[in-house]
């Protein structure tokens, strides 16, 4: 066996050793330092952290006796983190093997192994994408992936209610899902909210989508002069921050608000539009307010798409004697729907998970025949009530997994069945 091969093998056992022996001192030392730090971490806490993810703590704290117990939540977080660190170290390990092989090849060809600064420079150039994506990926891992993994795990524990640290938390398998689908009280609430949530998402999406499209078509008419001027009004509505709009509308429909002022002036009794017993009124107001906020966005979108449309198609159509309605249904609509399917799906999912509207308009109301919710609450509002306001973390996490399953199935189905997916070249 050649000598070089043995040096390369060294890197399989101790990461960085091969590079060090080949004369790439700094790089080799850095790799070895990473390994040393990791091993130190692994034996000082890594292993117990990993085990902690499975046991979630064994010693319950007791303030009377002064014993310091295990904090299950911290243990779970640290457990997830320790596996993520393991993954990162594995990535380093494989990059080390790849790197030592490159060096070996270079030396075999009689070239010199590049020094440290040279290799860094090379790396930044050749693997620019790794350098560029490093921070974004770390950020997304820590603040998106870790929380989601954490929440998925929480859905299978009994965390919440009375069971919060210092009490120990346990894995309970599908217990939370069983509660949602079987326990009376929670089950009825879930079914009612889900039903309303679906109705809401469909109505809101249709209303916003066609509202925006019609508005764009209206502004696109030849006889409309000063298009920028007319377009400015919806854009103002678009630019005002959403929570201001929502709170503003809440004031408008409140007891002292202008709507009730005029009702009382004409001899009526003031109406609690958003009160606890408002029922349908609150739902309709929610839909309209949501339309006020969202129509401008879909108008901008439709305007952009209409400007890409081929005018010759229309000329040909009117020569063939097609009426305006016919032109709309068989030219405009298919084209617009075709180009906006992805946005239509995102807007459906967005409406399905529209937290703001009912949180601001009438948040924090609990109806008697609902479990910590009211008749306008969507699943996402219920999730908030459960987990943030009332500490039912386990059930909340289970609800959010259900939301995820529903929205992803809908998006997948819609996407696969959409014409954009089936015949990609129709309008290109």
């Amino acid at each position: 066996m050649k000598q070089g091969n043995i040096k390369t093998k060294c890197s399989y056992v101790i990461m960085g050793l091969g590079q060090f022996l080949y004369g790439q001192r700094v790089k080799g030392l850095l790799y070895m330092a990473i390994l040393a730090i990791y091993l130190f971490y692994l034996f000082s806490q890594g292993i117990s952290d990993m085990a902690g993810l499975f046991t979630l703590g064994t010693v319950e704290g007791d303030p009377w006796l002064g014993t310091e117990g295990d904090d299950s939540i911290i243990m779970m977080l640290k457990g997830i983190l320790s596996f993520m660190i393991l993954g990162a170290v594995l990535i380093f390990y494989f990059s080390n093997i790849r790197d030592v092989k490159v060096t070996e090849k270079l030396l075999e060809q009689g070239k010199k192994a590049p020094g440290f600064f040279k290799s860094v420079e090379n790396y930044v150039d050749k693997k620019f994408y790794v350098v560029a994506l490093f921070f974004p990926v770390i950020g997304v891992l820590v603040f998106n992936v870790l929380p989601i993994v954490f929440m998925i795990l929480i859905a299978f524990t009994n965390y919440g209610g009375n069971i919060i640290p210092p009490k120990l938390i346990d894995w309970i398998g599908l217990g939370n899902f069983k509660q949602i689908f079987a326990l009376s009280g929670i089950k009825e609430t879930f079914v009612r909210i889900l039903g309303w949530n679906i109705v809401w998402a469909i109505c809101a999406t249709v209303l916003n989508y066609f509202g925006g499209l019609l508005l764009a078509l209206l502004l696109n008419k030849r006889c409309v002069k000063g298009k920028t001027f007319w377009r400015a009004f919806p854009i103002i509505a678009y630019a005002v921050p959403g929570f201001i709009t929502l709170l503003g509308f809440k004031f408008m429909f409140s007891y002292g608000g202008p709507i009730n002022y005029y009702i009382m002036k004409f001899g009526g009794n003031s109406i609690g539009f958003l009160d606890i017993d408002a029922g349908m009124k609150a739902r309709v107001i929610g839909l309209l307010v949501n339309a006020w906020i969202s129509i401008p966005t879909s108008m901008l979108l439709a305007t952009g798409i209409l400007s890409n449309m081929n005018n010759e198609l229309y000329e040909a159509a009117s020569l063939d004697g097609a009426g305006r309605w016919k032109q709309f249904t068989s030219l405009t609509l298919p084209f617009v729907i075709f180009s906006t399917t992805p946005t239509l799906i995102t807007s459906f999912v967005g409406n399905f998970n529209n937290f703001g509207v009912f949180y601001f308009l009438r948040g924090g109301l609990y109806l008697d025949n609902y479990f910590l919710a009211s008749d306008t609450d969507l699943l996402i509002n219920w999730l908030y009530n459960l987990s943030i306001d009332n500490n039912y973390y386990g059930i909340g996490a289970a609800v959010s997994l259900i939301i995820f399953v529903i929205t992803s199935v809908i998006s997948l189905l819609a996407y696969v069945n959409s014409s954009a997916f089936k015949k990609e070249d129709t309008f290109r």
Partner: protein, 275 residues
């Protein structure tokens, strides 16, 4: 298309005026309300204040005993400013890399972000909240900035759509001239991407500027509140103060949107078509 009939023109304009009224009136109502000389919503003649003055604005900035608007504004500016800078850098880097380089992990990464974005945003937030509590990072403006910026690269698709339109031959030419990839990014890509930079900066400024959920969850101290959190604590009796505070933070955003509306339309529709 033939010329429209007179009756149709009239109907069109009637609808236009109605629509504009519907969109403009609530805004106008708030603007007028902010100039009311009385505070409570019960002292109005319907939509209109009984008398006008700028007293509410003066009160907004001077009477800070209960509602410390200047400090809310300062916190909001701090959070939005830093998040804007960091997010823009991260998003642009991500989008450019995803558009320009065809590496092995590209497709898996894109699919992962797609799946991640299907989780209800709220689900992550409850977890972030728990994590922040457990690591003692609530009541800290920097943790807000961290969360906003770290999550920002998830929304890289619009920017990627823009970079996809830059022809690859420019890069190849620079490559032949011996420019390294970092140099190309600084000297070639960035100067070409001003519109999308502006668009990204604007949207990533506006998001923390008007977000309520996250600050409401993470900021429990009154003196750390952002404007969005503070304004929700104003009841019916403080209606004009609410209106004034709202107008004061809405106006800069509205002006920004208008001066950049060209970019905006391009950004919205590009992203939509090319996803």
């Amino acid at each position: 298309m033939k010329k429209e009939k007179i009756s149709e023109v009239i109907i069109t304009y009637a609808i236009l005026i109605l629509v504009s009224f519907v969109f403009f009136f609530p805004v106008l109502w708030l603007v007028l309300a902010s100039f009311s000389s009385t505070g409570s919503i019960y002292d109005y003649d319907g939509f209109f204040p009984k008398s006008y003055s700028v007293a509410t604005y003066i009160k907004l900035f001077n009477d800070t005993q209960m509602y410390d608007y200047p400090s809310w504004l300062k916190n909001t500016l701090f959070v939005s400013g830093f998040s804007c800078v960091i997010s823009t850098v991260l998003v642009i880097l991500t989008a450019y890399t995803m558009s320009r380089f065809k590496f092995k992990m590209r497709k898996p990464l894109m699919k992962t972000t797609l799946v991640l974005s299907m989780f209800p945003s709220f689900m992550g937030m409850t977890a972030v909240y728990l994590i922040m509590i457990n690591f003692n990072m609530i009541n800290n403006l920097w943790s807000l900035i961290l969360i906003y910026s770290a999550g920002a690269p998830m929304g890289y698709l619009v920017q990627k759509g823009y970079f996809d339109t830059i022809s690859a031959s420019i890069y190849e030419a620079a490559r032949i001239d011996g420019a390294s990839n970092p140099t190309i990014f600084w000297k070639v890509t960035l100067p070409l991407s001003k519109p999308i930079l502006v668009y990204t900066a604007l949207t990533s400024f506006a998001w923390p500027w008007s977000d309520f959920i996250l600050p409401n969850m993470l900021l429990k101290n009154r003196d750390l509140w952002t404007v969005a959190v503070g304004l929700t604590h104003l009841g019916e009796t403080e209606f004009s103060r609410f209106a004034a505070g709202a107008i004061f933070i809405a106006v800069p955003i509205v002006i920004l949107y208008f001066s950049l509306s060209g970019f905006l339309v391009a950004g919205v529709s590009d992203g939509a078509v090319k996803q």
